[in-house]
């Protein structure tokens, strides 16, 4: 991005959630408390602005666990820089969306 994007609080929260390890839509809904009609369009905007990227989980892994494959999101370098700038604007962001704890095996 030539110009650093200024995020709304909601978008910054979602970006923070992705950065914190909540890598699919439903988990972001859970951690932020936002409805699906807010989370998914916001993620598409973030992806459009190259702040996050998405990739589909390998079908074989999902099949082995008898569940559908998920679409995972990951923060980009630009997204990280934008998030750092958003932290200055929204200092409580890190507290609102804490880093995800390692899932037990």
């Amino acid at each position: 991005m030539a110009v650093e994007a200024k995020l709304s609080h909601t978008a910054a929260m979602i970006l923070q959630a992705v950065h914190a390890g909540y890598v699919y839509g439903f988990s972001i809904m859970e951690v932020t408390g936002l409805p699906s009609g807010t989370v998914y369009p916001a993620m598409r905007r973030l992806e459009r602005d190259d702040l996050i990227v998405s990739r589909w989980e390998q079908q074989a892994i999902a099949d082995a666990e008898l569940r559908p494959a998920r679409k995972y999101y990951k923060i980009t370098r630009t997204g990280k820089a934008t998030l750092d700038a958003a932290h200055n604007r929204y200092p409580l962001l890190v507290r609102l969306v804490p880093a995800k704890e390692m899932e037990s095996a």
Binding site: A2, Y24, G25, F26, M29, E30, P35, S36, G37, T38, V39, Y40, P41, R44, R45, E47, R48, R67, P68, A69, R70, K71
Partner: protein
């Protein structure tokens, strides 16, 4: 029971997602649906874990699915403004040239695989008959100059010397021919000596020759097109006796149209014996063709030579021997020549159909000379591709109906070429005016400006925008003293930020 309720609920949610997916542009719909269906499964699993009642479980999934509609609306709105690679490609000048090149290639292939068209473009007259010559008192290559009187033929035919053999004569006339009991037509007839076909090395089967002589009729050979047009390609027409003016002729054969490549298009040839040729009036004018021995051409490498024959009064006169190949090539109506005549006519008429201005887009701006040159290169490339397309298309159309006479075919070719030139040249100018002078892409996003009332000082106009932000094309709805024609308004570099070209997501 619980299972059936769950399945019904799941189906309802999946149906809701499918309906929402209809809002999403088709090229993104499959992935969009896959993500939402996958997430729905996880939502349902989570709702099972959290809630004990079916209604609570269903509510969570239903609320989730309602969000899909909002997402779908967003996808629909966003994609409408998204950079569309396909649409951009259609506006591209490269695609325009590629399509024209493809069209020109198709026309060339079609012309190559149609023998009649190929022959008309690359004629090979008498390529196997190099020894056939005209005998004339003039060495001019024009047909009219080569004509001699029947009297001259009669005096020359036995005095041509050892290098000339098989001297034949034919006269082209229009005669009333009685086709049927109550039907007569004017046909182009070659009144010829009976050795004409032998002299020209034209080999066609002739039937009933002896019968024609016994019945007092001259052998009459029809051209294939005349046989088709006047006798309906009826095979039993062989043997018919028809009146050719005051003479009688019996149809003894059909000559393929391409076999005859000498002056005038003939419908029939009436072969007369020596006695009848001798009886021809001295006012009859025709052509004398002959076979020259191959050794003659080695003696006269320029192919044209002359010899002298004595006159009755003791003086002598020169006879020029002119190669038939050179004569035919010199007199053949080249389709390319006709096309250029038509093209000139179309260029004269073109201003009636479209303005010849390129819309002021060639005016100097602070662009480099290569950028200034590009629109001209593009324009002339289009013209260079258009002309062969029109030329070949006209030839192909003219040769589609093989029953047409040569004149009708030529007229059709000229007509198609004229209309084609007008249409395609108009398109080339209009297309050029609608392109950005910088990137040569077609302009888009038209908007109406001005007031709708048609008072003099509130002229309405349309503005088209270059999708790459190079400028605006202003086209007045009706010409005024301050805006008589379309004009360009270049954007300054400060506009660039609004026109970031985004690759397709």
């Amino acid at each position: 029971m619980t299972n059936s309720v769950f399945i019904r609920s799941t189906n309802r949610h999946r149906a809701a997602l499918w309906v929402a997916g209809l809002l999403v542009p088709s090229r993104k719909r499959a992935e969009w649906l896959a993500e939402w269906r996958s997430e729905l499964w996880y939502v349902q699993q989570e709702s099972y874990r959290q809630s004990s009642t079916l209604s609570a479980q269903g509510n969570l999934a239903t609320r989730f699915c309602m969000g899909a509609f909002k997402d779908a609306f967003w996808a629909m709105r966003y994609t409408a403004h998204e950079y569309d690679g396909k649409k951009q490609l259609l506006k591209s000048p490269i695609l325009c040239l590629l399509l024209l090149t493809l069209l020109a290639t198709c026309c060339s292939l079609a012309a190559y695989y149609m023998p009649e068209v190929r022959e008309s473009i690359f004629p090979q007259p008498f390529h196997d008959k190099q020894n056939i010559v005209f005998l004339s008192s003039s060495k001019d290559l024009d047909y009219s100059s080569l004509a001699v009187s029947a009297e001259s033929y009669r005096s020359w035919r036995n005095q041509t010397g050892p290098q000339i053999a098989d001297v034949a004569f034919y006269e082209s006339i229009v005669e009333r021919v009685q086709i049927a009991q109550s039907r007569s037509e004017d046909l182009n007839i070659a009144i010829a000596s009976d050795n004409l076909l032998k002299t020209l090395n034209i080999q066609i089967p002739l039937l009933l020759l002896n019968k024609s002589k016994s019945m007092g009729a001259e052998p009459l050979i029809l051209s294939h097109s005349a046989w088709k047009r006047f006798f309906g390609s009826n095979p039993s027409s062989i043997g018919f006796i028809v009146n050719v003016g005051k003479r009688k002729g019996m149809i003894v054969g059909i000559m393929p149209d391409e076999s005859w490549q000498l002056p005038d298009t003939m419908d029939a040839w009436l072969l007369m014996d020596e006695q009848s040729v001798n009886a021809l009036s001295s006012r009859s004018w025709g052509f004398v063709v002959a076979n020259a021995l191959p050794s003659a051409f080695s003696d006269y490498p320029n192919e044209d030579w002359q010899f002298t024959v004595p006159n009755d009064d003791g003086s002598s006169r020169s006879i020029h021997v002119v190669s038939i190949t050179k004569v035919v090539q010199n007199n053949r109506q080249q389709p390319i020549v006709s096309f250029f005549h038509v093209l000139i006519l179309a260029l004269v008429v073109l201003p009636i159909f479209t303005a010849l201005s390129l819309g002021g887009c060639q005016k100097a701006h602070n662009y480099s000379w290569t950028t200034m040159l590009r629109p001209w290169l593009f324009f002339f490339s289009k013209i260079l591709l258009i002309l062969p397309i029109v030329f070949l298309s006209a030839l192909i159309v003219a040769h589609l109906d093989t029953s047409l006479s040569l004149e009708a075919g030529l007229a059709l070719q000229c007509l198609v070429a004229f209309v084609g030139c007008l249409y395609t040249l108009s398109w080339a100018f209009k297309d050029q005016r609608q392109r950005c002078p910088r990137c040569l892409r077609l302009m888009s996003n038209p908007i109406q400006v001005g007031q709708s009332s048609r008072i003099l000082l509130s002229g309405r106009s349309s503005e088209f925008r270059c999708t790459r932000g190079h400028g605006l094309l202003h086209i007045p709805e009706f010409p005024t003293s301050w805006f008589s024609a379309q004009s360009w308004h270049y954007f300054a570099s400060s506009w660039n930020g609004l026109y970031i070209i985004r690759p397709s997501l």
